[in-house]
Subunit: 239 residues, 2 copies
């Protein structure tokens, strides 16, 4: 199907998906990269495709639009030649090791943590309600498609931690008084990572069984939150 008018109702509806409010309302989000779209297609999440390239064909509803309309929809300065409209990932029951994020704000950090969680077999990602939207285009890009291989839950993490099965070892980080992660009996683990600047909230930390840190030189006070989370998950995977 061809669309040439930027005032077309479909175009207006797609444009709204650039805002979190409408993504939440519609349960849909935009994906800009062919590799990511094929990942989402594999997971049967793509509802329709938008492209300005008449040579592209997809096994689902495809809208052929003008370059101008593509520019209205893309998040990238360099533009996009194909955009997928995808359904959000369904939240499932928790399973496997858990990585829990308390107010992570940087989209790149969230994307990195998603990618590392899949790499190091943390099957469930739990996001506090104030963590950056996982359907933010920057987050999606930096996951390199790994987003679709993870069980993702957004919730209030205080009651979540309180109600968590006691077989889970609840662990968070403390650069000053944490134990070395290498010494811990690690599985199954619920690993809580705090905000980039402020760290984990005290109330959240108090619900954890153990506090860990990564040994480093004295000059450096802390690592990037995405790196810190990734090294801890790496240690649990290899431990």
């Amino acid at each position: 199907m061809e669309i040439t008018s930027p005032n077309n109702e479909k175009v207006k509806a797609w444009q709204k998906l650039k805002q979190k409010k409408y993504r939440d309302l519609e349960g849909l989000f935009l994906i800009e990269d062919e590799h990511l779209i094929s990942e989402a297609l594999n997971h049967h999440l793509v509802k329709e495709i938008i492209t300005n390239d008449p040579s592209l064909t997809y096994p689902i509803s495809t809208y052929y639009v003008t370059d101008h309309i593509m520019k209205l929809l893309t998040d990238q300065v360099s533009g996009a030649k194909v955009i997928g409209v995808s359904k959000k990932i369904k939240e499932e029951e928790i399973k496997g090791n858990l990585i829990i994020l308390d107010n992570i704000q940087d989209p790149g950090n969230l994307g990195t943590i998603i990618r590392s969680a899949v790499a190091f077999n943390f099957e469930t990602l739990v996001l506090s309600n104030d963590t950056v939207d996982i359907y933010n285009p920057k987050v999606i890009r930096s996951t390199e498609g790994m987003l679709f291989n993870l069980n993702i839950i957004r919730t209030d993490i205080i009651p979540f931690l309180k109600s968590l099965d006691s077989t889970y070892l609840k662990v968070t980080t403390d650069v000053k008084s944490g134990k070395d992660i290498k010494g811990l009996n690690k599985k199954p683990m619920a690993l809580v990572i705090g905000n980039e600047g402020k760290g984990v909230r005290e109330e959240v930390a108090s619900l954890c069984d153990e506090k860990v840190h990564l040994e480093m030189t004295k000059i450096c006070e802390s690592l990037n939150a995405g790196v810190s989370a990734s090294i801890l998950m790496y240690e649990v995977f290899h431990g």
Copy 2:
């Protein structure tokens, strides 16, 4: 000293430092965060301070300017209340473990790698000529001040690797055929990390003694470059 006109020669010169060309020409760069400025002051690199806050005092030349001038100089949407004009860090002879970057493009990745290098005692960072500028404001912010604790060299890394002392074990990554990093005799090490999308150039890889990878689940093909570099440095530090 007070400056109110955006056409003042000083203001024009500072504005030019937002471009790499002029940073290279003048050997100067701008720093936007009070914490980073104090780190640069500790290293005797700050030449002058620019602020719109009359209550701030510094032990060096300080220019009090209008909000409008601050807006012309800042890289941040939220603005800045103090900006330091800093001299670039002097390149020294190589020392300690080396982390070598072959065309890293993302400022956040470079910042993260700088921070992790300091954390895990890699004393020298070698950047290929096509790696993102370390004096890019986004890089500087994401280093959290650690930039000033590292010996940083920008060069053509092919002749650099060729001329490197044979006591260094030259290591790069190969997700398909690399050895597990845990098995390596690790020090002193020259660790080469490749571009985010394309990896290490073949010519660069062929100059390395060993190829390593990090064990991970089969679903995930690779990690974020900053994370991968950080975990490898962590393993060398702890190995």
